[in-house]
Protein backbone atom coordinates (compact mmCIF):
# COMPACT_ATOMS: atom_id res chain seq x y z
CA UNK A 1 0.00 0.00 0.00
CA UNK A 2 1.48 3.36 -1.00
CA UNK A 3 1.89 6.21 1.45
CA UNK A 4 -0.79 8.30 -0.29
CA UNK A 5 -3.21 5.39 -0.08
CA UNK A 6 -2.61 5.20 3.67
CA UNK A 7 -3.27 8.93 3.95
CA UNK A 8 -6.53 8.43 2.06
CA UNK A 9 -7.53 5.76 4.58
CA UNK A 10 -6.66 8.17 7.39
CA UNK A 11 -9.00 10.78 5.92
CA UNK A 12 -11.75 8.15 5.67
CA UNK A 13 -11.43 7.58 9.41
CA UNK A 14 -10.97 11.19 10.53
CA UNK A 15 -13.66 12.87 8.39
CA UNK A 16 -16.65 10.62 9.22
CA UNK A 17 -15.77 10.56 12.93
CA UNK A 18 -15.49 14.34 13.12
CA UNK A 19 -18.62 14.85 11.00
CA UNK A 20 -20.71 12.50 13.15
CA UNK A 21 -19.48 14.05 16.40
CA UNK A 22 -19.98 17.61 15.20
CA UNK A 23 -23.45 17.13 13.78
CA UNK A 24 -24.58 15.13 16.80
CA UNK A 25 -23.53 17.99 19.08
CA UNK A 26 -25.03 20.75 16.92
CA UNK A 27 -28.26 18.98 16.00
CA UNK A 28 -28.86 18.11 19.67
CA UNK A 29 -28.47 21.79 20.49
CA UNK A 30 -30.72 22.72 17.59
CA UNK A 31 -33.44 20.46 18.96
CA UNK A 32 -33.48 22.43 22.22
CA UNK A 33 -33.18 26.01 21.00
CA UNK A 34 -34.18 28.28 18.09
CA UNK A 35 -31.66 28.51 15.23
CA UNK A 36 -30.34 31.98 16.02
CA UNK A 37 -29.53 30.97 19.61
CA UNK A 38 -27.69 27.74 18.85
CA UNK A 39 -23.98 28.15 19.51
CA UNK A 40 -22.28 26.20 16.75
CA UNK A 41 -19.18 28.28 16.05
CA UNK A 42 -16.98 26.84 18.80
CA UNK A 43 -17.87 23.21 17.93
CA UNK A 44 -17.19 23.94 14.25
CA UNK A 45 -13.78 25.45 14.98
CA UNK A 46 -13.00 22.41 17.13
CA UNK A 47 -14.15 20.13 14.31
CA UNK A 48 -11.99 21.89 11.70
CA UNK A 49 -9.03 21.88 14.09
CA UNK A 50 -9.52 18.17 14.79
CA UNK A 51 -9.54 17.36 11.07
CA UNK A 52 -6.30 19.29 10.52
CA UNK A 53 -4.52 17.89 13.58
CA UNK A 54 -5.90 14.39 12.91
CA UNK A 55 -4.65 14.36 9.33
CA UNK A 56 -1.20 15.69 10.29
CA UNK A 57 -0.89 13.26 13.20
CA UNK A 58 -2.06 10.45 10.92
CA UNK A 59 0.51 11.35 8.27
CA UNK A 60 3.33 11.52 10.83
CA UNK A 61 2.29 8.20 12.37
CA UNK A 62 2.14 6.58 8.91
CA UNK A 63 5.54 7.99 7.99
CA UNK A 64 7.12 6.69 11.21
CA UNK A 65 5.49 3.28 10.77
CA UNK A 66 6.64 3.10 7.14
CA UNK A 67 10.19 4.10 8.10
CA UNK A 68 10.36 1.43 10.81
CA UNK A 69 8.83 -1.22 8.53
CA UNK A 70 11.34 -0.53 5.76
CA UNK A 71 14.26 -0.66 8.19
CA UNK A 72 15.07 3.05 8.43
CA UNK A 73 14.54 4.02 4.83
CA UNK A 74 12.66 7.24 4.20
CA UNK A 75 9.20 6.51 2.73
CA UNK A 76 8.14 8.00 -0.61
CA UNK A 77 5.55 10.56 0.49
CA UNK A 78 5.26 12.19 -2.94
CA UNK A 79 3.60 9.31 -4.70
CA UNK A 80 4.13 8.16 -8.28
CA UNK A 81 2.18 8.83 -11.47
CA UNK A 82 -0.55 6.40 -10.45
CA UNK A 83 -1.00 8.11 -7.07
CA UNK A 84 -1.33 11.47 -8.82
CA UNK A 85 -3.81 10.12 -11.34
CA UNK A 86 -5.92 8.63 -8.55
CA UNK A 87 -5.71 11.87 -6.61
CA UNK A 88 -7.10 13.74 -9.63
CA UNK A 89 -9.93 11.25 -10.07
CA UNK A 90 -10.86 11.55 -6.40
CA UNK A 91 -10.70 15.34 -6.39
CA UNK A 92 -12.78 15.43 -9.57
CA UNK A 93 -15.58 13.46 -7.92
CA UNK A 94 -15.34 15.53 -4.74
CA UNK A 95 -15.51 18.75 -6.66
CA UNK A 96 -18.85 17.82 -8.19
CA UNK A 97 -20.34 16.95 -4.81
CA UNK A 98 -18.98 20.08 -3.12
CA UNK A 99 -20.06 22.30 -6.01
CA UNK A 100 -23.63 21.00 -5.89
CA UNK A 101 -23.70 21.61 -2.15
CA UNK A 102 -22.33 25.12 -2.59
CA UNK A 103 -24.96 25.90 -5.22
CA UNK A 104 -27.62 24.95 -2.69
CA UNK A 105 -25.88 27.24 -0.20
CA UNK A 106 -25.93 30.15 -2.70
CA UNK A 107 -29.71 29.70 -2.91
CA UNK A 108 -29.93 29.76 0.91
CA UNK A 109 -27.82 32.92 1.01
CA UNK A 110 -29.95 34.61 -1.65
CA UNK A 111 -33.02 33.82 0.46
CA UNK A 112 -31.19 35.38 3.43
CA UNK A 113 -31.40 32.21 5.51
CA UNK A 114 -29.83 32.32 8.97
CA UNK A 115 -26.02 32.19 8.95
CA UNK A 116 -26.27 28.92 10.87
CA UNK A 117 -27.68 27.14 7.80
CA UNK A 118 -25.20 28.71 5.40
CA UNK A 119 -22.09 27.89 7.43
CA UNK A 120 -23.28 24.38 8.18
CA UNK A 121 -24.29 23.84 4.55
CA UNK A 122 -20.79 24.76 3.35
CA UNK A 123 -19.23 22.65 6.11
CA UNK A 124 -21.39 19.64 5.24
CA UNK A 125 -20.65 20.04 1.52
CA UNK A 126 -16.92 20.08 2.28
CA UNK A 127 -17.07 17.05 4.58
CA UNK A 128 -19.19 15.01 2.18
CA UNK A 129 -16.88 16.00 -0.68
CA UNK A 130 -13.89 14.84 1.35
CA UNK A 131 -15.49 11.48 2.15
CA UNK A 132 -16.60 10.95 -1.46
CA UNK A 133 -13.09 11.75 -2.67
CA UNK A 134 -11.68 9.22 -0.19
CA UNK A 135 -14.10 6.49 -1.26
CA UNK A 136 -13.47 7.11 -4.97
CA UNK A 137 -9.70 7.04 -4.42
CA UNK A 138 -9.79 3.81 -2.41
CA UNK A 139 -11.99 2.22 -5.08
CA UNK A 140 -9.47 3.31 -7.71
CA UNK A 141 -6.57 1.92 -5.65
CA UNK A 142 -8.27 -1.42 -5.02
CA UNK A 143 -10.14 -2.06 -8.25
CA UNK A 144 -8.32 0.02 -10.82
CA UNK A 145 -9.74 2.85 -12.87
Amino acid sequence: MSFTERITWTSLVVLPVVALTYFTVVLTRLADAPVDEVSWIVPMIWAIGTVIVGMIAGAIAQAIAATIASGGEEPDTEGDVRDKEIDRIGEYAARHVTSLGCMAVIVLAMLRADHFWIANGVFLAGLVGGVVSGIVKIRAYRRGF
Binding site: M44, T98, S99, V105, M110, I118, A119
Partner: protein, 157 residues
Protein backbone atom coordinates in the same frame (compact mmCIF):
# COMPACT_ATOMS: atom_id res chain seq x y z
CA UNK B 1 -15.49 28.11 -34.55
CA UNK B 2 -14.36 26.88 -37.92
CA UNK B 3 -16.97 28.82 -39.87
CA UNK B 4 -14.41 30.31 -42.27
CA UNK B 5 -14.12 28.51 -45.57
CA UNK B 6 -10.34 28.39 -45.73
CA UNK B 7 -8.97 24.86 -45.97
CA UNK B 8 -6.66 25.54 -43.04
CA UNK B 9 -9.54 26.23 -40.70
CA UNK B 10 -11.39 23.17 -41.87
CA UNK B 11 -8.36 21.08 -41.06
CA UNK B 12 -8.17 22.72 -37.66
CA UNK B 13 -11.83 21.98 -37.12
CA UNK B 14 -11.41 18.39 -38.15
CA UNK B 15 -8.46 17.94 -35.80
CA UNK B 16 -10.42 19.19 -32.80
CA UNK B 17 -12.42 16.68 -30.84
CA UNK B 18 -15.93 17.77 -30.02
CA UNK B 19 -14.92 18.07 -26.38
CA UNK B 20 -12.31 20.64 -27.32
CA UNK B 21 -14.88 22.71 -29.22
CA UNK B 22 -17.32 22.45 -26.30
CA UNK B 23 -14.51 23.59 -24.02
CA UNK B 24 -13.90 26.69 -26.13
CA UNK B 25 -17.61 27.52 -25.92
CA UNK B 26 -17.53 27.01 -22.17
CA UNK B 27 -14.40 29.15 -21.86
CA UNK B 28 -15.90 32.08 -23.76
CA UNK B 29 -19.28 31.83 -22.02
CA UNK B 30 -17.70 31.73 -18.56
CA UNK B 31 -15.36 34.62 -19.35
CA UNK B 32 -18.19 36.79 -20.73
CA UNK B 33 -20.43 35.84 -17.78
CA UNK B 34 -17.75 36.77 -15.24
CA UNK B 35 -17.04 40.14 -16.86
CA UNK B 36 -20.75 40.93 -17.24
CA UNK B 37 -21.59 39.99 -13.66
CA UNK B 38 -18.73 41.99 -12.16
CA UNK B 39 -19.54 44.95 -14.46
CA UNK B 40 -23.10 44.98 -13.10
CA UNK B 41 -22.23 44.22 -9.49
CA UNK B 42 -19.24 46.46 -8.75
CA UNK B 43 -20.92 49.78 -9.72
CA UNK B 44 -23.99 48.80 -7.69
CA UNK B 45 -21.88 48.02 -4.65
CA UNK B 46 -19.84 51.23 -4.80
CA UNK B 47 -21.47 53.73 -2.48
CA UNK B 48 -24.19 51.42 -1.20
CA UNK B 49 -24.23 49.29 1.95
CA UNK B 50 -24.03 45.57 1.19
CA UNK B 51 -27.49 44.87 2.59
CA UNK B 52 -29.08 47.24 0.02
CA UNK B 53 -27.34 46.03 -3.14
CA UNK B 54 -29.73 43.98 -5.28
CA UNK B 55 -27.57 41.22 -6.72
CA UNK B 56 -30.01 38.30 -6.83
CA UNK B 57 -31.56 39.20 -10.20
CA UNK B 58 -28.20 39.76 -12.00
CA UNK B 59 -26.81 36.55 -10.47
CA UNK B 60 -29.76 34.49 -11.67
CA UNK B 61 -29.75 36.17 -15.11
CA UNK B 62 -26.03 35.64 -15.64
CA UNK B 63 -26.32 32.03 -14.51
CA UNK B 64 -29.42 31.37 -16.63
CA UNK B 65 -28.14 33.12 -19.76
CA UNK B 66 -24.76 31.39 -19.44
CA UNK B 67 -26.46 28.00 -19.27
CA UNK B 68 -28.82 28.69 -22.19
CA UNK B 69 -26.16 30.23 -24.46
CA UNK B 70 -23.55 27.61 -23.53
CA UNK B 71 -25.78 24.60 -24.03
CA UNK B 72 -27.50 26.16 -27.05
CA UNK B 73 -24.18 26.74 -28.83
CA UNK B 74 -22.94 23.30 -27.85
CA UNK B 75 -26.10 21.79 -29.31
CA UNK B 76 -25.63 23.79 -32.51
CA UNK B 77 -22.04 22.53 -32.76
CA UNK B 78 -23.25 18.99 -32.14
CA UNK B 79 -25.71 19.28 -35.02
CA UNK B 80 -23.27 21.05 -37.35
CA UNK B 81 -20.28 18.81 -36.64
CA UNK B 82 -19.27 16.37 -39.36
CA UNK B 83 -20.69 12.92 -38.70
CA UNK B 84 -17.27 11.34 -38.41
CA UNK B 85 -15.83 13.93 -36.00
CA UNK B 86 -14.04 12.57 -32.99
CA UNK B 87 -16.20 12.50 -29.87
CA UNK B 88 -13.99 11.72 -26.90
CA UNK B 89 -10.87 9.72 -26.26
CA UNK B 90 -8.48 9.08 -23.39
CA UNK B 91 -6.75 12.40 -23.95
CA UNK B 92 -10.03 14.30 -23.59
CA UNK B 93 -10.70 12.53 -20.30
CA UNK B 94 -7.23 13.29 -19.01
CA UNK B 95 -7.51 16.96 -19.96
CA UNK B 96 -10.94 17.15 -18.34
CA UNK B 97 -9.45 15.91 -15.05
CA UNK B 98 -6.52 18.32 -15.24
CA UNK B 99 -8.75 21.28 -16.05
CA UNK B 100 -11.11 20.62 -13.17
CA UNK B 101 -8.17 20.07 -10.84
CA UNK B 102 -6.72 23.46 -11.74
CA UNK B 103 -10.01 25.31 -11.28
CA UNK B 104 -11.22 23.58 -8.14
CA UNK B 105 -8.97 25.76 -5.98
CA UNK B 106 -11.26 28.73 -6.58
CA UNK B 107 -14.37 26.80 -5.54
CA UNK B 108 -12.55 25.85 -2.35
CA UNK B 109 -11.43 29.44 -1.70
CA UNK B 110 -14.97 30.72 -2.33
CA UNK B 111 -16.49 28.10 -0.02
CA UNK B 112 -13.96 28.75 2.74
CA UNK B 113 -14.52 32.49 2.45
CA UNK B 114 -18.29 31.91 2.66
CA UNK B 115 -17.81 29.77 5.76
CA UNK B 116 -15.68 32.38 7.52
CA UNK B 117 -18.03 35.19 6.46
CA UNK B 118 -21.05 33.40 7.86
CA UNK B 119 -19.22 32.59 11.11
CA UNK B 120 -18.60 36.35 11.38
CA UNK B 121 -22.29 36.94 10.50
CA UNK B 122 -21.35 39.23 7.59
CA UNK B 123 -24.18 40.29 5.26
CA UNK B 124 -25.58 37.66 2.87
CA UNK B 125 -24.44 39.76 -0.11
CA UNK B 126 -20.82 38.84 0.61
CA UNK B 127 -21.58 35.19 1.31
CA UNK B 128 -23.49 34.65 -1.95
CA UNK B 129 -20.96 36.53 -4.00
CA UNK B 130 -17.86 34.88 -2.59
CA UNK B 131 -19.39 31.54 -3.59
CA UNK B 132 -20.67 32.68 -6.97
CA UNK B 133 -17.55 34.59 -8.01
CA UNK B 134 -15.50 31.58 -6.84
CA UNK B 135 -17.52 29.41 -9.24
CA UNK B 136 -17.07 31.89 -12.09
CA UNK B 137 -13.30 32.17 -11.58
CA UNK B 138 -13.01 28.38 -11.35
CA UNK B 139 -14.94 28.00 -14.61
CA UNK B 140 -12.74 30.55 -16.43
CA UNK B 141 -9.48 29.16 -15.07
CA UNK B 142 -10.28 25.50 -15.69
CA UNK B 143 -11.61 26.03 -19.21
CA UNK B 144 -8.62 28.09 -20.29
CA UNK B 145 -6.25 25.60 -18.66
CA UNK B 146 -8.01 22.89 -20.68
CA UNK B 147 -7.74 24.93 -23.87
CA UNK B 148 -4.00 25.30 -23.25
CA UNK B 149 -3.67 21.60 -22.46
CA UNK B 150 -5.33 20.74 -25.79
CA UNK B 151 -2.71 22.86 -27.53
CA UNK B 152 0.01 20.89 -25.82
CA UNK B 153 0.77 22.93 -22.73
CA UNK B 154 0.06 20.60 -19.88
CA UNK B 155 0.15 22.46 -16.57
CA UNK B 156 2.56 21.06 -14.01
CA UNK B 157 0.47 19.73 -11.11
Amino acid sequence: MGKKKTPNCDEEWASMSRDEVYNWIFALVSLVSTITYLAILVPRKIGAPASEVSYVAPLLWVFGCGMVVGFGTALAVRLAAPKDSKVRDERDKEIELIGQYVGSGFVTIGAMAALVLSILEVDHFWVSNSLFVGFLFAAVLSSFAKAAAYRGEYPEI
